[in-house]
Symmetry: C2
Subunit: 247 residues, 2 copies
């Protein structure tokens, strides 16, 4: 499993992903699921991936090869990020069909999901969730984030905190809390945590990008403080005695 | 979907369940998933159910009929709660095989899960999770709770708070927070919330049992306070600036 999330803010885009891959409990590995394409002067793109590792690697490697060979299409030539999302979905479908022409079989599922985010000069920053079937959606202002993989444990905190206008520092902190809670609850999601902020209209410059190991000092402090604060928040809830007294 | 949870404490047992049943978005109904058997002088049992509604209703109705007709076995005659768990699992298997002898088919899944909790005089209070396959497990002291249905959204808070020694009032409050967060995040889980406390060794007496509608004053207060406290807890987390400064 995997847990990736991306947030579309007024200020820019935030990406966060874990690094655990497993094919059964005896084959657990560390792989980055955050693929950065093009740090060029007119476009920036990040692709997060979840699902079958062979499929996601094939998709990413094909994107890189098309770019290197100046094939058409390639991510450097496209004018719209939605075309890039389409292109990722098409490659994903091709790869899946190559290995499972009749769909997933017992014990083998080639499906993969992606989140594509970025900005092409002249357009707004955009975010796309690309389904295993190759089609894609964009987030709403009210629900400005996408998740793929092991999404449920870490969703409630995102629902409570994130809005389109949230400052990027708060959104990044919220993503880390969501990721850390998921790591705590699911053995299929694990560190290092990769987190990145792509600021709107800032092309060519290096993005803020961090890889946090389990014992990263900030992460440890965040985890401990969150645990303490949550216990405190819980202890201050109204007592159920009030409820019982009413009877 | 459904969300049920039960907690085994030193003091006794706590049960909590939602009441939403759906067979597609046009067929959403309110059904209790908390089935109380025998409030007699030597035993108390509660069964929580999730999964196919026809299966769970058939199981519960068969248990009642066996009891009324003094058939053998019935839940009044058994000496061990684990035998009752076996019996529930067997009926569940029979019902599932009756309607789907070759297993779940596309568009039809007769599976159901149960949590059985209670106490028979002379034994400890016990809790069993009964799988769709009919077999069952008991909780550990370290992880003293079971969940069935839509379990992930509400699990992190249980992981943080619940221990075998937790007082029942705290455990009930924690169950309500877990349930309310799940209702917020999933449209397939809905009120009223039923919550019950079975005190250890208290046979024959009525258990503390409540059904809370969405606008129940205590639930509203709990929900609002929890939301405020969580936002407060989040706002007091260490700033990411510290992390950036280190670079």
């Amino acid at each position: 499993m995997t847990y990736c999330l991306a947030i579309k803010l007024e200020e820019g885009l935030v990406f966060c992903s874990d690094s655990r891959t497993n094919a059964g409990p005896d084959q657990v590995d560390v792989y980055s699921k955050q693929h950065i394409f093009l740090d060029s002067e007119d476009r920036q793109m990040v692709l997060l991936s979840a699902g079958n590792l062979a499929t996601t690697q094939a998709v990413v490697s094909r994107m890189g090869r098309d770019l290197a060979e100046h094939s058409s299409p390639n991510i450097h030539d496209m004018h719209y990020l939605s075309d890039v999302a389409d292109y990722v979905g098409q490659i994903s479908q091709e790869v899946q069909k190559k290995y499972a022409p009749d769909g997933p079989k017992s014990g083998f599922n080639p499906k993969a999901s992606f989140i594509l985010g970025g900005q092409i000069k002249g357009s707004e920053p955009e975010l796309f969730l690309i389904y295993p079937e190759g089609n894609h959606i964009q987030p709403s202002r009210r629900n400005p984030f996408f998740q793929i993989g092991e999404t449920k444990y870490g969703k409630p905190i995102l629902d409570r905190i994130l809005e389109h206008e949230t400052p990027h520092e708060i959104a990044m902190r919220c993503a880390l809390v969501s990721m850390d809670s998921t790591i705590r609850s699911s053995a299929t999601v694990g560190p290092p945590i990769e987190i990145m902020y792509l600021k709107r209209d800032q092309f060519g410059g290096p993005a803020k990008s961090y890889s946090l190991t389990r014992n990263d000092p900030y992460l440890v402090k965040l985890r401990e403080t969150w645990n303490q604060n949550l216990l405190q928040a819980f202890s201050e809830l109204p007592s159920m005695a009030e409820m019982f007294e009413g009877d």
